[in-house]
Amino acid sequence: MMLTIALPTGRVFSDAAEMIAGAGLPCDGLASPGRKLVIEAGEFRYILAKPSDVPLYVSYGTADLAFAGGDVLLESAMPVVELLDTGAGRCSVVVAGPRSQAERFRGHASELMGLKVATKYPRIADGHFSARGVQVDIIHLHGSIELAPKLGLSDCILDIVQTGSTLRANSLEVLEHVCDVSLRLVASRKSTALRWKEVQSVMNKISSHVKEKRP
């Protein structure tokens, strides 16, 4: 029976495809998929999916395995088994805002009450602030988050940051670190229960490749 692996399109696709090739898994056609969304190679079927949909494919068991960003997994809160932190695409989820907001974040939690937070991660934002008992106004945006404070839509943003250059370009600075995220190898609960040997074999191959690559 084929093993189905979901791969996120976009920023981290090349990392995931490189890891599959490096681990020695069949990957004909993955290097240049064109408009194809399903690619079969050997005993594997690869599904190319929007990053935010990847946890859904896994939790419904449509995909046995997948690569997914830690931010996407946290935001989806879907029941999957996280097998491996590949370390690829490492970045941080942070709260960022104009320098004028920094004082509020250095003070007592009460200073943050009613803070307007623009984000494409409403669940992570809610979890982060509500864990400290802070009630904030979460504004769910789907892109160009950095614009929100500039236009007066929000006091700050919660977003992922890799180098910080986009923040700096928009006169924003990191106010609070939320968590580190990276590309994870995940599996469906069903596949880890019923097809563990195959899942483990893929996990071990990718783990060996990741270790080889680490300096």
């Binding site: 939790s59 419904y60 229960a193 563990w196």
Partner: protein, 393 residues
């Protein structure tokens, strides 16, 4: 008028409802034949009675409300608790064990990606037996009833909370909690990070390191036993697995010693049921002796619950329940109904048709997906191939 339902609620009708009803009937009748009595719990549970006794994952998903008498309650999120309370108040110790089966709605907020707050559960519980056999009985009956429901392509992933709990007992409580939490969440990176940080004796560290990969066929039990050496807390699971294997169900069970649920609730073998046709678990169960002791009862408690809607949609019943259309054909209602009753006495499903026109009745039978059509006046019958489609023969 639009009849909008509250978010998370569902009306079920059509073929799925028929399939669910058939599954319910088969399930309850199967368990009644094995001495399990049907149980109809109250729709509401008092929060003060339920709160401390329910697993923490269930508590956070309950639907709370206040009755017209001002009592804080929740909609029934779990039938097991009601069953145990019933046992405690209605049966003397010498009348134990109590075997019950049920089919009812339960109300709980679903985990993402689902948004439902109500679902249909079928389940069975064996309460208050102190000797061996309860685990094997429950799992063996579960596999048999899955077969009876047409769910032969299902596998039970079987674990044992005792194995993990005994290994975790060697760790400091914070480390043990982090490890159990990581397994429950399904995060191996978090699990291994917690293992690295924790102050754990080498012997148990080796076992805990191996737990995430102790999954697979029954041979995993020998591997785990070798790792632990003498006194490995696996005897209940080994006996159960061996019994199921001897019954020919060896290929329908897999072992997963990393299965983790609320340790304050589960206390022995636990399991999840998976269908090869679906990604989500069909349900699960396990041994929960602690709930019994918290209600002042002795003995073991073992039970399971399955999602009836999912079970029915995976069963073969939706496609084989199309009825025969019985056309009155000008007979008086009294005579037509008498003849239809004769026809249905052998179990044939009948749908009456009072249309005055024969051809219109035949067309209606095709449109409604009937497998056959019969003229009650003349006794002429047609089989429609496939059910409701194609020409008459």
């Amino acid at each position: 008028m639009v009849n909008r339902l509250p978010r998370g609620c569902v009306n079920v009708g059509g073929e799925l409802a028929s399939a669910m009803e058939e599954c319910r009937r088969i399930f309850l009748s199967f368990f009644e034949n094995w001495g399990y009595s049907p149980f109809l719990p109250s729709g509401l549970q008092l929060l003060e009675s339920a709160w401390d006794k329910l697993p923490s994952q269930v508590r956070s998903r309950l639907v709370a409300l206040t009755t017209p008498y001002g009592e804080p309650c929740c909609l029934r999120g779990d039938i097991t608790l009601a069953a145990v309370a019933y046992l405690a108040s209605h049966y003397a110790p010498e009348e134990q064990p109590l075997r019950i089966c049920y089919c009812d709605r339960v109300y709980m907020k679903s985990a993402p990606p689902r948004t439902s707050i109500e679902s249909f559960q079928i389940g069975a519980e064996l309460l208050g037996w102190e000797g061996e056999g309860a685990d094997a009985e429950m799992l063996s009956l579960l596999l048999r009833v899955l077969d009876a429901l047409g769910l032969e392509r299902t596998t039970i992933a079987l674990g044992d909370s005792t194995f993990l709990q005994r290994a975790l007992a060697s760790a400091e409580s914070a480390a043990a909690e982090s490890l159990a939490d990581a397994l429950r969440k399904g995060s191996l990176p978090d699990y291994f990070a917690a293992l690295e940080k924790g102050n754990i004796p080498d012997f148990y560290r080796t076992i805990l390191s191996a737990i995430p990969r102790l999954r697979g066929d029954i041979s995993v039990l020998s591997e785990a036993e070798k790792l632990w050496g003498r006194g490995a807390p696996l005897s209940a699971l080994k006996t159960t697995a061996a019994t199921l294997e001897s019954q020919g169900y060896g290929n329908r069970i897999s072992i997963d010693l990393s299965l983790a649920r609320d340790p304050g609730y589960y206390s022995g073998p636990l399991f999840e049921v998976y269908s090869w046709e679906s990604g989500r678990s069909l349900g699960g169960g396990g041994r929960y002796d602690r709930l019994l002791s918290s209600c002042g009862l002795k003995g073991q408690a073992m039970g399971f619950a399955l999602d009836l809607e999912q079970a029915a949609s995976l069963s073969s019943f939706p496609s084989r329940r199309s009825p025969t259309m019985a056309w009155a054909g000008g007979l008086s209602p009294e005579e037509a109904l008498r003849r239809a009753a004769d026809l249905s006495s052998d179990g044939t499903r009948i749908e009456m048709n009072w249309n005055g026109d024969r051809n219109a009745s035949l067309q209606a039978a095709e449109k409604r997906g009937c497998r056959s059509w019969v003229d009650l006046a003349s006794g002429t019958a047609f089989t429609l191939f496939p059910a409701g489609k194609g020409g008459a023969s």
